[in-house]
């Protein structure tokens, strides 16, 4: 059973994707909330230099020291960018945009120069080779496990342990860094701890998804979860769930269309994000539009009631308190006038009396409320 699972290529590819997605989403939730999303971009690019330099020094691409060594470049990017921005010569955005392309370019050139010896080429740098993770295996307890799955399992466990152990501290530093510092929680230390773990995860995920697709795994599922909830623990759980869903659906679609598996997994995170953006209950674009329409209709009802109240029992009442007046005098469209009258009738604000629109007691009260407040603010 276990053997069959680890021997199954699709299962291994999906497991790798899920481990990358879950590890990324755990840290990404905090990166997104803290406004550090683009540091992920910088980190995931510049670790390429670290990976190739470590390979030139040790001759190996995998192993705990290799991963930690390469992760140093990720952290270096952050430190250098922050130092450059602090020097005042350029702003933070330009600082990030200067440091990571330079490190990434150096990494790509070193890879090109060593192309004959190292089995990563520049396309792998960008896209990863998640389809081939089952080629490199190690034997653990008599079972052959892909190296990537073993490595990423450890990374996931570390990330999970970090988030669980420092939950309270992470929550406080993320939402109120000033208070956290006052309580002696060292927000700066946690800042670099998160970014160090992000670098380590990026290096571990590099073989599978490459430099750029990793960003999607870190940022997009947490951002999607953020659109759906305001509770931190639920956001983290949702982010991990969305990652897992994206990996499974992405894999199936990639096989169906015969396209890049890593690319399709990352693109699927975008699909979930788009769905949440449109349909999130209460905050999605659709409910925003519906609420806006409803609020506008409510406002029109108040205008209608005020209009009827103003001309009530006056000589021009037969002319003004009609639907024609709404279109001719208030310049409403036919559709808007009809919708407003229907709404006002529904709410029992007005009624039709002798071919005219007349206020019901409730409408009368609303209109008096409007003018009383208006009168008060004028005398005040």
């Amino acid at each position: 059973m276990i053997d069959a699972y680890f021997a199954s290529i699709p299962a291994m590819i999906m497991t790798t994707g899920i481990l990358v997605g879950a590890s990324g989403a755990l840290l990404g939730s905090f990166l997104v909330l803290r406004g550090n999303s683009m540091l992920t971009d910088a980190i995931s690019h510049s670790i390429v230099l670290g990976i190739i330099v470590v390979w030139m020094l040790t001759g190996h691409l995998t192993g705990p020291f290799q991963i930690l060594g390469a992760a140093v470049t990720g952290l270096l990017t952050v430190v250098l960018s922050e130092a450059l921005a602090k020097s005042g010569l350029v702003k933070m955005d330009a600082a990030i945009g200067l440091i990571f392309p330079a490190l990434f370019a150096a990494g790509v050139i070193l890879i090109s120069l060593n192309a004959r010896n190292v089995h990563i080429d520049v396309d792998t740098v960008l896209l990863g080779e998640i389809g081939f993770v089952w080629l490199h295996t190690l034997t653990l307890g008599g079972v052959r496990i892909p190296v990537a799955v073993a490595t990423l399992s450890v990374v996931f466990a570390v990330n999970l342990a970090f988030v669980l152990a420092f939950w309270k501290e992470l929550k406080l530093t993320t939402f109120d860094a000033g208070l956290a510092a006052a309580l002696g929680l060292f927000p700066g230390v946690l800042h670099y701890a998160i970014l160090t773990l992000t670098s380590v995860t990026a290096v571990a995920a590099f073989d599978a998804v490459g430099a750029i697709l990793f960003i999607a795994f870190v940022i997009v599922p947490p951002a999607t979860a953020y659109l759906l909830t305001r509770r931190l623990w639920l956001m983290v759980v949702l982010a991990v769930t969305i990652s897992v869903l994206s990996c499974v659906t992405g894999y199936l679609l990639a096989v169906y269309w015969n396209v890049s598996i890593g690319g399709m997994m990352a693109a699927t995170t975008g699909v979930w994000f788009a769905l949440a953006l449109l349909l999130a209950p209460g905050r999605g674009l659709v409910s925003q539009a519906l609420r806006q329409g409803s609020e506008r209709l409510d406002h029109d009802c108040r205008t209608l009631v005020a209009h009827l109240y103003t001309h009530q029992d006056s000589p021009d009442m037969p002319e003004e308190n009609t639907r024609r007046a709404l279109t001719d005098h208030l310049r409403w469209s036919e559709h808007r006038a009809r919708a407003t009258i229907l709404r006002a009738l529904d709410r029992d604000l007005i009624e039709r009396r002798d071919g005219l629109l007349a206020l019901r007691p409730k409408g009368q009260a609303v209109a008096e409320g409007i003018f009383a407040r208006h009168h008060k603010s004028q005398t005040a």
Binding site: V90, A105, L213, S260
Partner: protein, 380 residues
């Protein structure tokens, strides 16, 4: 070298690369000043699906349709980013990360789809990842030249508006300028610079060609006009040099080489630029420190003179040390002697050197401390 330069192909590549670098440099200056460097990063990654779309529509590597496709998806990405920032509570950096990674993932999927369809022409598509100046054709130069002239014309026509919006958008709005439209035009120009520069450095490193020349130019000048011109010159030089180097070495993509050259320009500018450069700043800080410690020696001598009611009071080294709380550097004493503010005298029967303030020294100390000395009474 001359043989290389007289080659028709090399001339095309050189001219094309310089042109691309100049256009990106010119338009990048505005992106850096408006702190939108990372928008350039997101838009350049978002150009990848457009490149593939243009390829699919044209059925081949036709530069016009590829660039049109890149421009289309770049603009779409900018719009979606605006939507996310305006309609959700996600921060700008998260919106950038989402757009960047999801569009790039879609591009990767499209790229592998096209490669799956086969055809030798699709090989030319991967050069858009890291750029390949050698792929520039003579006919492409016309498209780039026309695009460059159009961009230049737009910049010249809207110079005042662009300047105002780049430096003080609030003031521009108060002046009644259509700021939203001008900002839109500037964003479109960033997208345009990216599309034009894609061939040279590719989607991944394009951000550096946008930022680096502008960041280097910013160190040398405070005026927008000279910054734009200088930035274009830096971009052109980096482009041409990079194209030349990558053309003469095998298997070296142009993008990383150009980026490293442009980064070298930035490093040099940040070090040596007058007034702003780090070396300049360090020298200025040293001179300032020297002035301050010299001033302290002068005021210490003045205090001693006042305390002893003797304008020609002769202080010994040990007294100076005690008065200052620390030993003044011998170089500072020598500098003060050179400036004619103190003079070394003997004070028999002691044999160690003593110092007293000269007339000019008294005046200087007075200016520094703001207290009158006995010397004032002597001078009429």
């Amino acid at each position: 070298m001359t043989a290389l330069l007289s080659s028709n192909i090399v001339q095309t590549v050189l001219f094309g690369a310089a042109l691309l670098g100049a256009i990106s440099g010119m338009l990048g200056a505005f992106a850096v000043l408006r702190q939108q460097s990372l928008l350039g990063d997101a838009l350049s990654h978002a150009a990848l699906p457009g490149v593939c779309l243009g390829f699919l529509v044209a059925g081949g590597r036709d530069l016009g349709s590829v660039l049109a496709g890149a421009f289309f998806t770049g603009a779409l990405a900018a719009l979606i980013m605006q939507l996310i920032v305006r309609r959700t509570t996600l921060k700008t950096d998260a919106a950038l990360g989402i757009v960047l990674s999801v569009f790039f993932a879609v591009g990767v999927v499209a790229l592998t789809y096209i490669q799956g369809q086969g055809g030798a022409a699709s090989a030319g598509l991967t050069t858009f990842l890291f750029g390949q100046a050698a792929a520039i054709l003579r006919s492409d130069l016309w498209i780039m030249g026309a695009g460059g002239l159009a961009a230049l014309a737009l910049v010249l026509a809207l110079w005042k508006e662009f300047k105002l919006v780049s430096f003080d958008a609030d003031f521009a709005r108060a002046q009644g300028l259509p700021v939203t439209w001008i900002e839109g035009a500037l964003t479109v120009m960033v997208a345009f610079a990216i599309v034009i520069g894609l061939q040279l450095v590719g989607v991944v490193l394009m951000v550096a060609l946008l930022i680096a020349p502008a960041a280097a130019a910013r160190q040398w000048t405070r005026a927008l006009g000279s910054m734009v011109v200088l930035s274009a010159a830096f971009g052109a030089t980096a482009g041409a040099l990079g194209a030349l180097i990558s053309a003469s070495a095998r298997g070296l993509a142009t993008g990383p080489v150009v980026v490293l050259i442009a980064t070298a320009f930035v490093v040099i500018s940040m070090l040596v630029a007058p007034r702003r450069g780090l070396i300049w700043q360090a020298l200025a800080a040293r001179a300032m420190r020297a002035r301050i410690s010299e001033g302290r020696v002068l005021t210490a001598l003045q205090d001693l003179a006042n305390a002893h009611d003797d304008t020609a009071y002769k202080a010994e080294r040990g007294m100076l040390n005690t008065a200052l709380g620390a030993a003044p550097h011998a170089m500072r004493i020598q500098a003060l002697e050179r400036r004619g503010l103190i003079q070394q005298v003997t004070h028999p029967p002691e044999t160690t050197p003593h110092w007293e303030l000269t007339k000019a020294g008294h005046a200087e100390a007075r200016a520094l401390s703001g207290t009158p000395t006995d010397a004032d009474k002597d001078t009429p």
